[in-house]
Every structure is written in structure tokens, then in C-alpha cells.
């Protein structure tokens, strides 16, 4: 190592954080309040420019196959896949954390026995991925990948390591807030969701165009986990809780399971 102060070589072509922040402010001002989903046309996230549809989504009534989710069960998952700290031959570096919450549908019903998949960077902010070139150490004891099934009350639970923030090339000096990617299924295929969970109080929130693509503050808050001291375990791990709400189902009340 000969230097610790060099700036990335690609810097000249990149916009400044100040410009991105101004664009975020502008996009928020131009968006009606109360939107619960991200704006998929969000210019401050440069990669979205050519990858968002320009036409309105077409309203469709879901049919047959769209009304049933794929089925996962204990044959699909080994219970150890929910513990990301024991997968690779040794203890990973970082802040061990317990992460739990419930998966619910829009009517408040638990999503039972359904697959939850997560992936994340290690404590140094690096993924085990051949295209992640962030010069932070790869942790040989951490793959950053986990799966579990929700239980009969819709609860999921993982043991993992708190991920670090990391730089990316959206703009000059761009840093993603620490986050964990979540992939979820409901009881209908129309409820399929991939999202990201963030940590409370992250100083990078205001600067991040992916998080800020959700223009409504209350909606953004729904992506932030809560620190839970009762979940935190003596001399072992901190605890975070994060509940996930999928969209409503199209089942009619008569078809619903009202007997729990």
C-alpha cells in the first residue's frame, strides 16, 4: 500500500453529491405526497434512467396462476441457513445481530410457512461477488446469504452480522447506507416483493438515491428496522426487529381462513 488518499480514477465523469442531493429534493417536490412505493423513474439513481418503463402500468385483474404463490417447505430449507454466522467454517468478523419480524399481508394476516431470502455485505461493506471490487476485506467466514421459512404466525428470524456501508459509482463519493436485501413471497404471486432493510439513525439516508426513491417519509420509515433491547442478548448479539407488509390479497372474505 503506497497511498491512502487517492481518489477513484473514474472520478471526472461523476456528478457531485450536492447535485444528486439537489435532484433528490427536486424529485420529492414534484411527487404528490403519500406514495407508498418508490418512483421507478428516479433520475438521481442513474442506473434507473434506461431501466424504468415509461408507460403507466396496465391495470389487470389477477387470474388463476397469479393468485397462488409457489410453495416452499421444510424440504427446501436447512434450518442452519437462518444462521449466517455458522455457514463457513469459523466466526465472521463484526457485530453479531439477531434479526426478526413478521411477514403480514395488507389485511394484517400472517404469511405462514413462506420463504424469506436475504443477502448482504459483510461488516466491511463487501459482498462475496466477483463483480464487487470495493477494496475492503472479504471475510472468509461470511457468505452473506441466508434463508428461512416463516413460522405459523408469520415470524422470520436470522442470526447474522451487521453489514457495513459501502461506496458505489452512482456519483462521486456515493455511499450506500448499510442494508440487508430481502426477497419475499405472500400467498399470491402478485405479492412478490424484493426490498432492502435499513438500520435506524443512518447518517447516509439523506444522501442515498435508492432509499430516497421512496418520496414519502412515512413510507421510507417502513424500511428501517427498530433496535430491540429485549431481543439483544447478553454478551452475544444485538437485536433488531423489522416487520414486512406485502400488498393485500384478492381472496374474497368467504375464501379466507378466519378460524385461527
Amino acid at each position: 500500500m503506497t497511498t491512502t488518499t487517492a481518489t477513484p480514477a473514474a472520478a471526472p465523469a461523476l456528478d457531485s453529491q450536492a447535485r444528486i442531493t439537489a435532484e433528490i429534493t427536486e424529485a420529492h417536490a414534484a411527487t404528490p405526497p403519500g406514495a407508498s412505493q418508490p418512483r421507478i423513474d428516479f433520475p438521481p439513481y442513474r442506473s434507473s434512467t434506461l431501466r424504468h418503463p415509461t408507460k403507466d402500468l396496465r391495470h389487470a385483474d389477477p387470474e388463476g396462476i397469479e393468485l397462488v404463490a409457489p410453495v416452499f417447505g421444510h424440504s427446501d430449507i436447512d434450518p442452519v441457513e437462518a444462521d449466517l454466522t455458522i455457514q463457513h467454517g469459523g466466526e465472521p468478523i463484526g457485530e453479531r445481530m439477531l434479526l426478526t419480524g413478521r411477514v403480514l399481508d395488507g389485511d394484517g394476516r400472517p404469511v405462514r410457512h413462506q420463504l424469506v431470502e436475504i443477502w448482504q455485505a459483510n461488516a466491511g461493506g463487501r459482498y462475496i461477488h466477483k463483480r464487487d471490487q470495493h477494496p475492503a476485506p472479504i471475510d472468509p467466514h461470511f457468505t452473506g446469504v441466508g434463508r428461512c421459512l416463516t413460522d405459523g404466525d408469520g415470524n422470520y428470524r436470522f442470526t447474522t452480522i451487521k453489514p457495513g456501508p459501502y461506496p458505489w459509482r452512482n456519483h462521486l463519493n456515493a455511499w450506500r447506507p448499510a442494508h440487508i436485501h430481502f426477497s419475499l413471497f405472500g400467498t399470491e404471486f402478485t405479492q412478490r416483493l424484493i426490498t432492502q432493510m435499513y438500520f435506524p439513525g443512518d447518517p447516509l439516508f439523506a444522501l442515498d438515491p435508492i432509499y430516497q426513491s421512496i418520496t414519502d417519509q412515512a413510507a421510507r420509515d417502513r424500511l428501517v428496522a427498530t433496535y430491540d433491547h429485549d431481543l439483544t442478548t447478553h454478551e452475544w448479539a444485538t437485536g433488531y426487529r423489522w416487520d414486512i407488509v406485502l400488498t393485500g390479497t384478492h381472496a374474497t372474505p368467504l375464501e379466507r381462513d378466519d378460524h385461527e
Binding site: S47, R51, A60, V68, S75, I77, L115, I194, S213, T249
Partner: protein, 187 residues
């Protein structure tokens, strides 16, 4: 109707999902070479027509008799047809599934009548998932019939000379695919 909970917002799948979501046999809904096996494939493209190498496509489909499978084992299916598959795009933006063609919905499995694959698309740069449908060639239903012809065309798989089905996905541009929203998903 009881009070509804506000849904959790979606976010992009990002560039680094490949060690998490793809899994062995994920795009093989049936074993290659099995009776009735067909290849459903295509390219995901952006607004410049460039292939998208970091997208993920999933399908959900009926069996050849038009029944919606509710069969456990979608990650380790061991020969079971679960009606679900997952394919990450390759460096050329291509996805491919080996599957069987869905039949028209059987009684009790949907009133629409047409045979289609339900498709969901994720990608780096795409801030929330997109739903669409890949109809089998020649199929139609009231939804498809209600679209202008050029839009309907984006939802129809094309039969290839070798019997395969091609379904290209255009996130943006002149041939932009029709993407769907469902009631109760607004907000």
C-alpha cells in the same frame, strides 16, 4: 373491508444477488429432455436496446392440464413440478427456462381462459419489481384483446422453428413491454 396496512416499499435487487437467489436447477421446472419439455427464453433490454446482464426473471405457471400447482419443494424440487422457476440473465441479458407449456385454466383455476406464464422481472436500476404475462402463441383473453395491437404483441411469446418459445422483455423503448398492476396494490 377492514383497515388495510400500508405495504412495505420495494427496492432494487441491486447488482450482487447472484450468490443468494440463483440455485441449482432454478430454471428447470422440468428436467431437460423430459416429455413435453419446452424452452422459454428471451433477452431483457433497456431503453437503448442494450441487454441487461443483471436482471432476474421468475415465472409462475399452470401445468399442462391448466391446474395451478400447490406443490412443495420449489427450491429442491426433486422432479416435482411446482410451477415456479427463476433465471438470472447472463452477460448477454438472456434468461431461459426449461419447462412445459401451461394449459388453459382448468375449472376452479381461473376464469380467464387463456394460457400464459405469469412473469416478474427484477433488475439493478429497476427500483421495484415489474409483473407481466407471456401468453402462449394464439392465446387471447379479454385483457389482451383490450390492448392496442402493438402493446398486445409485447405479451405474446413467439414460436420458434425448433418449437421453443421466445419472450423478449423491453424495460423501456419503442417495444416497451406492457407491465401490470393489480387492484389492491396501489398506494
Amino acid at each position: 373491508m377492514s383497515e388495510t396496512l400500508a405495504p412495505t416499499p420495494g427496492q432494487t435487487i441491486g447488482p450482487f444477488f447472484h450468490d443468494a437467489l440463483p440455485y441449482g436447477g432454478d430454471s428447470f421446472l422440468v428436467p431437460a429432455g423430459s416429455a413435453g419439455a419446452v424452452r422459454l427464453h428471451g433477452t431483457v433490454r433497456d431503453g437503448n436496446g442494450a441487454p441487461v446482464p443483471d436482471a432476474l426473471v421468475e415465472i409462475r405457471q399452470a401445468d399442462p392440464a391448466g391446474r395451478a400447482p400447490l406443490v412443495e419443494g420449489s427450491l429442491r424440487r426433486d422432479g416435482r413440478f411446482t410451477g415456479w422457476g427463476r433465471s438470472a440473465t447472463d452477460a448477454s441479458g438472456r434468461f431461459a427456462f426449461t419447462t412445459v407449456e401451461p394449459g388453459r385454466p382448468a375449472d376452479g383455476h381461473g376464469a380467464g381462459g387463456a394460457a400464459f406464464f405469469s412473469v416478474v422481472v427484477f433488475a439493478r436500476g429497476l427500483l421495484d419489481r415489474l409483473f407481466t404475462r407471456a401468453y402462449l402463441p394464439g392465446e387471447s383473453d379479454p385483457f389482451l384483446a383490450g390492448l392496442p395491437a402493438d402493446e398486445a404483441r409485447t405479451l405474446q411469446a413467439v414460436r420458434e422453428a425448433d418449437g421453443g418459445l421466445r419472450f423478449d422483455i423491453h424495460l423501456q423503448g419503442e417495444r416497451e413491454t406492457v407491465f401490470l398492476r393489480y387492484p389492491r396494490h396501489d398506494g
